[in-house]
């Protein structure tokens, strides 16, 4: 998420951003990875089964990691995920006219925020926001976490 947050900081005066939280990729009750663990990224969530659980995880994460991008959540019918073939992660750019101007590849291997940066730089020029804030530190999780 760090690259995208930097992108947002740099270009939020020129473009709108919206993060859409979709079904988890590596929840601890499905395909858990070593990187989930507390000594790594510390993101030990179960796959939400209800909207309330999904909303709780979204709130927990955005608060813990002080995530600044505008945020929305896919409903439990996964309508956004299905419409955009988004899982596990993907980037799009939509033109002012409502047409898709950029469709990124599926993450993690073909997920490339630098392609979005290049698109924005081509239109608005290269933009670098002032120096970043002090290092963010994750606070302990409040909900839906298991160690």
């Amino acid at each position: 998420m760090g690259d995208v947050e930097k992108l947002y900081d740099d270009y939020k005066d020129h473009a709108d951003f919206l993060t859409i939280y979709i079904r988890e990729a590596h929840p601890i009750d499905e395909w858990k990875m070593r990187s989930n663990d507390k000594d790594k990224d510390d993101v030990c969530y179960v796959q939400p089964k209800t909207l309330e659980q999904r909303v709780a995880i979204a709130n927990d994460f955005t608060k813990r990691f002080k995530y600044t991008l505008p945020f929305a959540i896919d409903d439990m019918n996964n309508a956004a995920n299905d419409a955009f073939a988004a899982w596990p992660e993907r980037l799009y750019i939509v033109e002012e006219t409502g047409t898709i101007s950029y469709k990124g590849g599926n993450g993690p291997f073909n997920y490339d925020p630098n392609e979005v940066r290049a698109w924005l730089a081509k239109r608005y020029g290269e933009v670098k926001a002032p120096a970043a804030e002090p290092q963010k530190s994750a606070e302990p999780a409040a909900v839906e976490k298991k160690s």
Binding site: R23, I73, I100
Partner: protein, 96 residues
């Protein structure tokens, strides 16, 4: 020297079984290397592949106007509501 027909068939099926077995082993090894371990490979096939699609959307298509849920968990809004006359960057993802 000609072998009996039954022996030829047995030999052919043996080679087919060996070839199929070799392909299966190669696929398993490849998936394990890609995913990290045999256990990860099984979980990838079970949990990841069913959800990973290229999709039909392409550059130039009209953006689907899906309904989204706000962080408060109560209010809903259509995606196009977030279009304000500027390009809109959509970041799909999860936290794990």
């Amino acid at each position: 020297m000609l072998r009996p027909y039954g022996e030829e068939m047995k030999r052919m099926w043996t080679w087919i079984a060996i070839a199929v077995g070799a392909v299966v082993v190669l696929v398993c090894v490849g998936l394990s290397v890609m995913a990290g371990s045999p256990k990860d490979a099984i979980q990838m096939v079970r949990y990841a592949l069913p959800y990973m699609h290229r999709g039909d959307l392409k550059v130039g298509d009209r953006v689907p106007d899906v309904q989204l849920v706000a962080l408060d968990g109560q209010s809903r809004f259509p995606l196009r509501e977030r279009m304000t006359g500027r390009p809109l960057v959509l970041v799909f993802g999860s936290f794990t």
